[in-house]
Symmetry: C2
DNA sequence: AGGCTATAGTTCTAAAATAGAACTGTCAAA
DNA sequence: TTTGACAGTTCTATTTTAGAACTATAGCCT
């Protein structure tokens, strides 16, 4: 597979996978949403090799998920901040966290609880239809070819 | 990193990543939701090597995402069907598809359109709070340590 | 019977990615 | 002047993946 052009496939899943479809990238993004911003912060909390961390951060910057922002002039130091495009990955991360909570839990209970500041309650994320607001289930969805479809891929 | 025990980390994201956190697995799951069930079906639509496909399918069966069901006795042939645990991955896949639609699109438009059979309309998936029903944004969520938390990981 | 095709894999070697550790460079503080 | 913090880069060994060939079972055709 030509992973280097996966982001140009006529399939939105492939394009997303091209950006966030590996283990380290997803774990790095988790840290971003937990307010980690600096190289040493990612490295020490994830125990990722510095080489791979450097490479993954570059890739996330290249795709516009993170912005590399100077926070010190001498010596030059940078931190990595989520862009809007990066913030928009939140539903993906939360959907993964929720699935793990439900299906991969152990007797200890959940590692993290999430509070919705707006309503003040502990919550779970729920995916609904933008049109009718009902909870979405795979079996209630029918797929049509769209204008960007080019071949027999989704 | 010890990827072989990632599914036991005190972090729901890590546990999910242990199961679906690689490119081929996500693409295989896309095919599952598009009703592909058989080895040759996955292989020809994804152009994945037979070796890796075999390995990934075994892993998905081992984690209870797919069930290997005989559909022919002589010769013995099996197909791979999503379990409920597998069907519950739908929000993850849809969140990724939607992010790709919004942020990785090109001038051709979307590769696929999704129709909600329940209301009959083309829709986008939206993630809302289970308690108040409002749309969720990363900045409105506060994270607390839960009972299953063991160390400084999310 | 002998050969072709379909399906679902397994086995092999070469190429690519990752792990783990050491190294570089800048500057501040002791 | 030495130490430490930070943000990387470079190196080799190990692991994973790609790509192609091979195996096995059985139906169908002649």
């Amino acid at each position: 597979m030509k992973w280097d052009t996966l982001d140009e496939e006529p399939c939105s899943l492939s394009r997303t996978v091209a950006v966030v479809g590996d283990r380290w990238t997803l774990l790095i993004l988790r840290e971003c949403f937990l307010r980690v911003r600096r190289f040493e912060g990612f490295q020490s909390s994830l125990q990722i090799t510095r080489h791979l961390l450097s490479e993954r951060l570059k890739k996330l910057v290249r795709f516009g998920i993170l912005r590399r922002v100077p926070y010190s002039e001498a010596p030059k130091r940078y931190e990595y901040i989520l862009t809007q495009k990066g913030l928009d990955l939140y539903p993906i991360i939360m959907a993964m966290v929720h699935w793990g909570d439900i299906h991969m839990g152990d007797e200890r209970g959940r590692p993290l609880l999430h509070e919705h500041k707006t309503c003040g309650k502990l919550f779970d994320p729920v995916m609904v239809c933008s049109e009718c607001g009902e909870v979405l289930h795979a079996k209630q969805v029918h797929v049509h070819a769209g204008p960007g479809r080019r071949e027999a891929v989704g």
